[in-house]
């Protein structure tokens, strides 16, 4: 008999082979919605800046190596658009998902920018080398051993590597898990039967309302991914904190809406000043202010306080000198890469970082 973790992996692989996720079609590729608003949250320099200070994004690697773990059918397209000049490796258990991804990349002329590899990212061959930025969206909670999986991702990054993770929230999705529990008791395994179960509930039933609020439930693939996944281990805020700590990581910036940022907990009540970010996030999670997921940038524990900023090591995408348009400052900013970044004022650096972050194609 196969060990449990291999059985689970095989079930997860079967799910995504049968239903590649997200459901992008071969026949209507041009209509696939690109979530442009996600681009900044998938940008290496933004993640780097969150870890090492808002101004150091301008000296981050200009040709970062990015690993998209458990990439599915589409995310690397957005990652490629969000990171011009980056070298991207997209990894997924499902070969069928990767074939769909390759089609999506090809029709956008991005195929040369993204390599794909089918398999378990925990078994990624060493010849792929180390990465500057690891993206794992909706992946960690689907692993049989999340800590081992996260550790394996950490081991694949460079020392100053950064992460962008999305992990399911236990309390944010509590109604989903209750509905899933009911489906389990009814022996439901397919989307049609799940829909029938939802439709057979009263009009004001919480599972029914939650189901209609869950965008992905509109199609069978999304429904199966959300409600019928064979391995789904959500995290509480404290559980996530402990997981990150065990893997040697720390969160550097939460990418939630303002109402889901840790400081928003102060709206609930006058809170003790010594409450930390995780305490505040827990409060938001318990009182229903955090919806569904934790999404955040992270870096290795301890690195945040001693960033390796090398003098004069400006972003290589920049010409020797020139102007950059800063939306933050509302004007063109003069820069010279022969000048020590430390001689700029914090305000100037922030404006430059902002301008560089929005560069459409590597600073030309």
């Amino acid at each position: 008999m196969e060990p449990l973790h291999l059985q689970l992996r095989s079930e997860v692989e079967s799910l995504y082979e049968a239903r590649p996720y997200p459901p992008v079609g071969y026949l209507s590729p041009f209509f696939q919605r690109i979530r442009w608003e996600e681009r900044p949250t998938l940008n290496y320099r933004a993640a780097y800046s969150a870890a090492y200070g808002s101004t150091t994004g301008i000296i981050a690697s200009s040709k970062p190596r990015i690993l998209v773990a458990g990439c599915g059918t589409f995310e690397p397209v957005v990652v490629a658009l969000a990171n011009p000049g980056a070298e991207i490796l997209a990894v997924d258990l499902s070969e069928r998902s990767l074939r769909r991804l390759e089609w999506q990349l090809r029709i956008r002329g991005l195929q040369g920018r993204v390599k794909t590899w089918a398999g378990d990212f925990e078994e990624l061959p060493d010849y792929f080398g180390a990465f500057d930025f690891v993206i794992a969206t909706g992946v960690i909670h689907h692993l049989s051993d999340p800590e081992r999986g996260l550790r394996s991702l950490v081991s694949r990054t460079k020392e100053a590597g950064v992460f962008r993770l999305m992990v399911y929230s236990y309390w944010g999705r509590s109604l989903l898990y209750s509905a899933k529990e009911l489906a389990g008791k009814l022996g439901i395994k397919d989307p049609a039967a799940f829909r029938r179960m939802i439709e057979s509930l009263p009009a004001g039933h919480p599972y029914k309302i939650y189901f209609y609020l869950y965008d992905d439930a509109r199609n069978d693939t999304g429904l199966a991914d959300g409600f019928l996944h064979p391995c789904d281990r959500p995290f509480t805020a404290y559980g996530l904190r402990d997981l990150l700590s065990a893997a040697g990581l720390q969160a550097t910036k939460f990418l939630h809406a303002p109402a889901g940022q840790p400081e928003a907990a102060d709206r609930l009540a006058r809170l003790p000043v010594d409450l930390g970010s995780w305490d505040r996030l827990s409060l938001l999670e318990w009182f229903g202010e955090l919806e569904k997921n934790f999404t955040f940038f992270a870096c290795r524990d301890g690195w945040r306080i001693r960033p390796k900023v090398t003098e004069y090591e400006w972003n290589q995408a920049l010409p020797r000198s020139g102007n950059l348009r800063s939306e933050l400052a509302g004007r063109e900013l003069r820069f010279d890469t022969r000048r020590d970044p430390a001689t700029y004022s914090p305000g100037e650096l922030r404006e430059l970082a902002d301008a560089l972050f929005l560069l459409p194609s590597g600073g030309k």
Binding site: S178, L186, S200, L201, L213, L268
Partner: protein, 168 residues
């Protein structure tokens, strides 16, 4: 169909059976959130926050869309199952898991559910649409009822039997 686990609220219970109230799943869910917050802020503060947080309201447009799809929300687009204002109001109510554990400890047996005619009809229809054999075990059926009547307390019919002691 004569089902042994269905007890009508309008007729007296047979001898030897009694009714026990189990908290609505929605109250259980809210109270477990509140208990988690108790540990961080203390019981009174956690309750004060829940009360202040009030109703969980959906945005107008979203609420309108759901209502057009036939869903029933609370007043002003409220999603009552997630509204913190009532959490902790019924601290004496027993949760399903603690009820089941107590039954096992105290030699109690779940024999069925006490339901009004409309509850009975709705629940049997639910079972039928989901292809559940209504002649199943009362405890398993009651467990499904806990999900179906998510926002209402359950009236569970139980029978206690005298414990048997081993003779030395």
């Amino acid at each position: 169909m004569n089902l042994s686990w269905v007890f009508a609220s309008e007729t007296p219970l047979p001898a030897g059976l009694s009714v026990e109230k189990v908290a609505a799943a929605t109250a259980e869910l809210g109270d477990s959130r509140l208990s988690a917050a108790d540990g961080l802020l203390g019981r009174d503060n956690a309750r004060a926050i829940a009360k202040k947080a009030g109703a969980y309201q959906l945005e107008d447009e979203l609420a309108r869309r759901l209502e057009l799809e036939g869903l029933e929300l609370g007043e002003n687009g409220e999603f009552p199952a997630l509204s913190p204002r009532d959490w902790g109001l019924y601290p004496e109510a027993e949760t399903w898991s603690s009820f089941v554990a107590r039954m096992k400890r105290s030699h109690g047996e779940i024999r069925g559910l006490l339901m009004s005619p409309s509850q009975r009809e709705a629940f049997l229809q639910f079972l039928s649409r989901n292809r559940v054999d209504p002649k199943g075990e009362p405890e398993a059926i009651a467990d499904l009822a806990r999900h179906f009547f998510f926002s209402e307390p359950l009236n569970v019919v139980v029978r206690y039997t005298a414990p048997r002691f081993a003779h030395s």
